[in-house]
Amino acid sequence: MSRYIIRRLIQAVPLLFFISIVLFLLMQASGDPLATLGGRQPPRAEDRERLKRQMGLDQPPLVQYFIWLVGNDWMVVNDETGETGARRGVIRGDFGTSFVTRQPVIEVIWERMPNTLILMGTAEVVIIIVSLTIGVISAVRQYSLLDTVATGFSFVAYSIPVFLMGLMLMYIFAVRFRQWGLPYLPISGMFDPTVGRTFDQIARHLVLPVMTISLISIATYSRYIRSTMLEVINSDYIRTARAKGLSERRTLFVHAFKNASLPIVTLIGLDLPFLLAGAVVTETIFAWPGMGRLFIDHLTRSDYPVLMGLLMMISVAVVIFQLLTDVVYTWLDPRIRYT
C-alpha cells in the first residue's frame, strides 16, 4: 500500500509540470495585464511600455515560464549594473508577486484560504448531513410522501441557476424581511466591520451563502444516495441479513450503507479539492472574501502570478484527494487491493 502511494505521488510530479506549462501558456491568451490596469481609461502607452519592461512582460512566454519556475536570482537582469533578479521560482517556494496588489502570491492566497474553508466546509457538512438523511429516508421509504416531496424538491433545486438562487434568497431574507420588520439576515460580507470577526457575526453572514451553495448540491447528492441505497437494499446479502434476523437498523447502517457509500465517496472525493477553490458565483454575490472571488477579481486583471498560484494549488489538491479517495475505497471495500 505505501509503495502504491509513493508511486502515485512520484507519478504526479511530471503531471503537475505538464499542467503548469499548459496553464502558463493559456494565461498568455487570457489578456494583457497592462491593458487596463483596472482603470476606466486604458493606461498611457508610454507607461505601458515602461511597466512591461519593469515587470518582465517583454520576455517571451517560455522565458517568463522558466523564470516563474526556477527564478531569476542567478540571472543578470540589468547589464549596466550587473544586478541579478530577485525571484526564486516556484520550485523554491516563491510564487512571485501579484501584478495587481504587489503582495506575494502566497500571502494573497493565505489571506483568503480560511474564509473559503469556513464557507465551503460548512456548506459541505450541511450538504453531506442533509443529503444523506434525505437520500437514505427516500430509499428506505420509497414512494412515500417524503420521497415524493424530496424528489420534487430535487428537481426544482437542481434546475435553478446558482446566481438566481443566491439573489432570490438575498432578496427574500435580507431585503424583504427587513422591509417587513422581520428578523433579517445580512446581505453581504463576512461580518459587520463595526462589530468585528465574532462567531455570532460569521454564523449570521454564513446562512445565506451556505444555503445557496448547499441547496443545489443537496438535490444532486440525495438523488445519488437514494439510487445507490435502493440498489443495495434490494440485493441478496441484505435479504440474507434480514433473514438471519439482524435488526433493521443494523442491516441498513452497517451492511447496506457501507456498500452504498462507495460512489458517494467518489463524488465527495472529487468535490473536496474544489472546497479550496471556493464558490465563484456565490462568493461574488454575497461579497464573501474567499478564493472564488479572488480568482475572478484577478482573472479580470490577467494577474498571472496569482492565477497560476491558485490553479496549481487546486491541481495539487485534486491529485492528493484522488489518492485519498482511492485509499478510502480499500477500507470501505476490502475486495479492492492496490499493489
Partner: protein, 542 residues
C-alpha cells in the same frame, strides 16, 4: 413525521431566527460601498477609480475640486495665481505655499520635503508606478523652505489646476522602506497606510471585505464629524443595489441607469455627477485601415444621422442619461452653440446617395465600385454596448449600411498598438467606449491629433481614429501653453466645433456617474473625481 424530526426542525428554525436578529445600532457610522475593491492604496500603484476615491479619505492634496469644480485649498494656504505670485508671468514656474504647522496623522511634520520625496519615488526606475503623470513633466521640483514647493516646467503649463492637485506620500515612513528594500513596490504601507494626511486614518483593510477608517484629528481642515467610516466591497451588481436599497450601504456609485427608479422608490437621493466621461462612437477615418467609405465625411455624417440615439437612451438607459454633443459635455470647454446631432435617416440616405453609395445589386446593402458598405462595429462585451450595437445594426441597415458586430473582453479591447489592440490598431470602422480627457477636469487629451496617430514608430499614439487635421493640432498645441482660463475655453470651443463637424466622434450619451446617497447622510457634496473633498463636514443623522 415523528417527534424527533420535529424537534430537529424546530431547533434549526430557532437557530436561524436567533442568528437573524438585527445588529445593534452604531453611533456616527457611515458605510460606503464600492463595486470594486482597490488594488492598492498608494496612489503610485493604482489607476483604479475606486482606489482613487478611497485614498482621498486618508491622503490630502494640495487642493481639491468642489462640486462645481472650483478649487478648494487643502494643504496650500491659497491657490496659486499670477496675482499672489504663485504662477510666474511666463506660466512655467509654480510656487505652492503650504499652510503652517501641517502634520501627518502620527504628528510628524508634513512639509515640502515630502513633495520632493514623492517626486523621487515616482521617477525612480526602482519603482513601478502605474503612471508618472504629472511628475515626469516637471523640469525641477525644489523645497527652498519647509512650507514652499517650487515646480518648474520647460514650457507654460496650462493644465496646472488639475495636475498639480498633488498628494504627497509620507517620507518619514517610506524613505526607510525604500532604502532597505531598494523599492517601494512591496511596501507594507501600500496595503496598510495607517499614517496619512486626510480627514480619516485607515484602521484596518481586510481584503475582500472592508476598509475601516477613524477620524484624523491632525487633518489640515479639522477633524471630521463622522466617527467611523467603513468602505465595503460588493462586486455583484444586483447585490450592490440591494445593499443600497436596504440601507446596508449609504453611499455608492456606478449604478446601472435601469436601477435608478427602484432606488428612487426606496427614498434614496440619486444624483448625476459629471466625471468627464462620455460614451461615444469613434469613427475610423484611416485610408489604410478603415473601410474605404470611412474617409468620406458624407458617409461618417450619414452614420451619425442614421442612428436614433434619443430613443436609445430612453429604451436602454431609462432616460436617465441624456444624449450630448461634446467630448467635453457639461464642462465649460464644450461649445455651447452645438446641438446634439439629430436623428434624420432621410438626410442620411441622401448623403450616401450623393457620396455614390447605392444598392446596385439589390441585396439591401449599398455598394460602390463593387465594394459593399459593410462596416465593422466593435466594443467591449458590456451588455449595454452589445444592445446598442444590435440597435445600430438594425437602424443603419434600414438606410443601407451593413454592420458586422464584434465584441472583445475589455482587457483585449483596450490593448495598445504594440499589443495589436483592435481599437488602437484601427481594426474597426465604428468603435464605442466611454472616454474622458485623461486629467479631468482638465480638458487635455491625446486623441484627435495628427502626431498621435499610432504607428510602428509611434506605438503610443492615442489617436485611434487615425484622423488628421493640422488645424486641430495647432489648436491643441496652443491650448497647452495658454494658462489663462477664459482664453483656453475659447480655444476649446473651436476644437469642439472642428471635431463635431468632422464626424469622427459622436456623443451617444453623457456618461455621468450615478451616485446614490442614503437618507441619513447629511451635507454630502460630491463631485465625480474627488467625491470626498468635503467629507470633513459630512454627518449622519441619529
Amino acid at each position: 413525521m415523528n417527534r424527533k424530526y420535529a424537534f430537529v426542525l424546530l431547533a434549526a428554525l430557532a437557530l436561524m431566527v436567533g442568528l437573524a436578529a438585527p445588529a445593534a445600532a452604531q453611533g456616527k457610522t457611515l458605510t460606503v460601498s464600492w463595486p470594486q475593491e482597490p488594488d492598492s492604496l498608494n496612489p503610485m500603484y493604482t489607476t483604479m477609480t475606486f482606489a482613487g476615491y478611497t485614498y482621498q479619505l486618508f491622503l490630502a492634496a494640495t487642493w481639491e475640486f468642489d462640486e462645481n469644480y472650483e478649487l478648494v485649498p487643502i494643504l496650500v494656504g491659497e491657490i496659486p495665481s499670477a496675482g499672489n505670485g504663485g504662477i510666474s508671468e511666463d506660466g512655467t514656474t509654480f510656487t505652492l505655499k503650504l499652510k503652517d504647522g501641517l502634520t501627518w496623522s502620527d504628528g510628524d511634520p508634513l512639509d515640502s520635503a515630502d513633495f520632493v520625496f514623492t517626486y523621487e519615488m515616482y521617477m525612480s526606475d526602482k519603482n513601478t508606478p502605474l503612471t508618472r503623470t504629472p511628475w515626469e513633466e516637471f523640469e525641477s521640483i525644489e523645497a527652498p523652505d519647509p512650507t514652499t514647493v517650487v515646480i518648474k516646467f520647460a514650457e507654460p503649463y496650462a493644465p496646472w489646476s488639475g495636475q498639480l492637485s498633488l498628494r504627497p506620500i509620507p517620507e518619514h515612513i517610506l524613505r526607510p522602506v525604500f532604502e532597505a528594500d531598494g523599492t517601494l513596490d512591496n511596501a507594507a504601507w501600500n496595503s496598510n497606510p495607517t499614517v496619512g494626511s486626510g480627514a480619516f486614518i485607515l484602521q484596518e483593510w481586510d481584503r475582500g471585505n472592508f476598509a475601516r477608517f477613524a477620524p484624523n484629528p491632525n487633518f489640515a481642515m479639522g477633524a471630521p464629524k463622522i466617527e467611523t467610516l467603513v468602505v465595503t466591497f460588493i462586486p455583484d451588481d444586483q447585490a450592490y443595489v440591494a445593499s443600497l436599497e436596504a440601507g446596508d450601504s449609504e453611499l455608492g456609485t456606478f449604478i446601472d441607469p435601469r436601477d435608478v427608479p427602484r432606488l428612487q422608490d426606496a427614498g434614496l437621493d440619486v444624483r448625476l455627477i459629471p466625471s468627464g466621461y462620455n460614451e461615444g462612437w469613434f469613427l475610423n477615418a484611416s485610408p489604410e485601415r478603415a473601410h474605404p467609405a470611412m474617409t468620406d465625411l458624407r458617409v461618417r455624417k450619414a452614420i451619425a444621422l442614421g442612428f436614433d440615439r434619443f430613443s436609445m437612451v430612453e429604451d436602454l438607459l431609462g432616460g436617465v442619461l441624456p444624449v450630448g454633443h461634446s467630448y467635453w459635455e457639461q464642462t465649460p470647454y464644450a461649445n455651447p452653440d452645438l446641438p446634439p446631432v439629430p436623428y434624420d435617416p432621410e438626410q442620411a440616405k441622401a448623403l450616401l446617395d450623393e457620396a455614390g453609395w447605392v444598392d446596385t445589386n439589390g441585396n439591401g446593402i449599398r455598394d460602390k465600385d463593387g465594394v459593399e458598405l459593410e462596416l465593422r462595429f466593435i466594443s467591449t462585451t458590456r451588455q449595454i454596448r452589445q444592445d446598442m450595437k444590435a440597435l445600430a445594426q438594425q437602424q443603419l441597415g434600414e438606410i443601407g449600411i451593413g454592420i458586422s458586430i464584434e465584441n472583445y473582453e475589455s482587457n483585449v479591447f483596450f490593448n495598445g498598438y504594440a499589443e495589436g489592440g483592435p481599437a488602437a490598431t484601427g481594426q474597426y470602422d465604428i468603435a464605442t467606449w466611454s472616454s474622458s480627457p485623461g486629467g479631468f477636469p482638465d480638458p487635455d487629451t491625446n486623441r484627435f491629433q495628427c502626431d498621435q496617430v499610432p504607428s510602428d514608430d509611434n506605438p503610443v499614439g492615442g489617436n485611434w481614429n487615425y484622423y488628421c487635421d493640422p488645424a486641430l493640432d495647432e489648436l491643441f498645441a496652443k491650448s497647452r501653453v495658454t494658462t489663462d482660463f477664459d482664453e483656453r475655453v475659447a480655444i476649446y470651443h473651436q476644437i469642439d466645433k472642428l471635431i463635431y463637424d468632422s464626424y469622427i466622434w459622436i456623443n451617444t450619451w453623457y456618461d455621468a456617474d450615478i451616485w446614490v446617497v442614503g437618507s441619513r447622510v447629511q451635507n454630502a457634496r460630491l463631485n465625480g473625481t474627488t467625491p470626498f473633498f468635503d467629507v470633513v463636514n459630512w454627518d449622519v443623522a441619529g
